[in-house]
């Protein structure tokens, strides 16, 4: 059975993409980033997320392939996306389907209090 962890910006499936469909697979993971375009993505930001995904999956080597462990990777990745947003590497897409600011409202921050 295909396992998955799907949150708004990070979809992880135990499947591969073939002919625009997800085909369940036991030894592959497919990551999909922000399908609903809440953020404006740049190539660099995407590469950083993929690299972080690689790191997390490598760190999870040897553990059971269950929903729980996938969710753990997924939620760590969501935190990473949030960091990118706070640093300004990605930004909220003002033309997205619904502007929810789901990772915090834009705000002006003094440099000292940052982080």
């Amino acid at each position: 059975m295909m396992l998955k962890s799907t949150t708004r910006h990070v979809h992880i499936y135990t499947a591969i993409v073939a002919n625009n469909e997800l085909v369940p697979s036991d030894d592959k993971l497919t990551l999909d980033i922000d399908p609903d375009n809440e953020f404006n993505w740049s190539e660099d930001a995407l590469k950083a997320v993929y690299a972080e995904f690689d790191r997390l999956v490598d760190a999870a080597a040897g553990e059971d392939l269950t929903d729980y462990n996938l969710r753990r990777i997924g939620s760590d990745l969501e935190h990473f996306v949030r960091q990118l947003l706070q640093q300004g590497a990605i930004s909220y897409n003002l033309k997205s389907r619904a502007l929810n600011y789901s990772m915090g409202l834009p705000r002006v921050e003094a440099e000292e209090s940052a982080g």
Partner: protein, 247 residues
């Protein structure tokens, strides 16, 4: 205004030492459709048709759905807004998330949302689906708001919101639908950014089989309950008694 500046890095109007956290910016990609000329009257007619026949999906996961069910009934009568409850996501274009959503339910909710045909709308009903509500402080499994899972168009506060509040939300949603333009349709389409890799996790048989009540761990009632019901207490449970007293 700063927040709407064309680039997120435009710090012209910021004093030194300040920066914008969580910036927002218009998308840099343009879609062909947005350059076409579409008559506003066509837009209006099209929107009017859509907003008068929003078909909500019958989706309820907790207590909020009781109020939603009251709305379907004759006293509040939501058919007058052209709403017809649909039991299949393929026929629905409005998802009212009535009730708490847990992490276990999350993939199912996202899948239901993805199965709905475009254009589709989501109303988050109740405190649970806005912030996690009363589960937000200590629950290990409740999702802290469905906007962490899917885009939400209208939020209805309340625990649970009255049917009138849902009617109010639907009227707000109709206003939103009425101001939409076909030119912006391309921006609401999904974009997939797939990345595939192999992994070294250990493949195990499914753990969520729906049979955990049959595993034996849940077959005996708690000791206090067994005593008060006059049931014979097995030795293994009686041995646990000293621990119970400490508590």
């Amino acid at each position: 205004m700063v927040l709407n500046s064309p680039t997120a890095n435009n710090k012209v109007s910021l004093i030194p030492g300040e920066k914008i956290a969580n910036p927002s910016a218009p998308p840099t990609v343009t879609h062909g459709l947005s350059e076409n000329v579409i008559l506003t009257t066509v837009d209006d007619l099209y929107n009017w048709c859509r907003l008068s026949s929003l078909f909500p999906l019958l989706y309820g996961t907790a207590c909020c759905f009781i109020e939603f069910a009251a709305l379907i009934g004759s006293r509040f009568d939501f058919d007058r807004f052209g709403l017809l409850p649909r039991a299949s996501p393929r026929q629905a274009d409005l998802l009212i998330t009535a009730g708490t959503v847990t992490m276990k339910m999350a993939p199912a909710l996202v899948r239901l949302y993805e199965q709905m045909p475009d254009p589709k709308y989501v109303i988050a009903m109740g405190a649970c689906t806005i912030t996690g509500g009363m589960f937000s402080s200590d629950s290990p499994s409740a999702v802290r708001g469905v906007d962490k899972l899917i885009p939400v168009d209208v939020y209805i506060p309340g625990c649970p919101p009255r049917p009138e509040a849902i009617i109010d939300a639907i009227i707000k949603l109709r206003k939103k639908v009425a101001t939409e333009s076909m030119q912006d349709r391309a921006y609401t389409l999904q974009t997939h950014r797939f990345y595939e890799r192999s992994h070294d996790l250990k493949v195990v048989p499914p753990i969520l089989t729906g049979r955990y009540l049959q595993t034996g761990a849940h077959s005996a009632p708690p000791k206090v309950l067994m005593e008060s019901m006059g049931m014979p207490i097995s030795e293994a449970i009686a041995e646990l008694a000293p621990e119970d007293k400490e508590i």
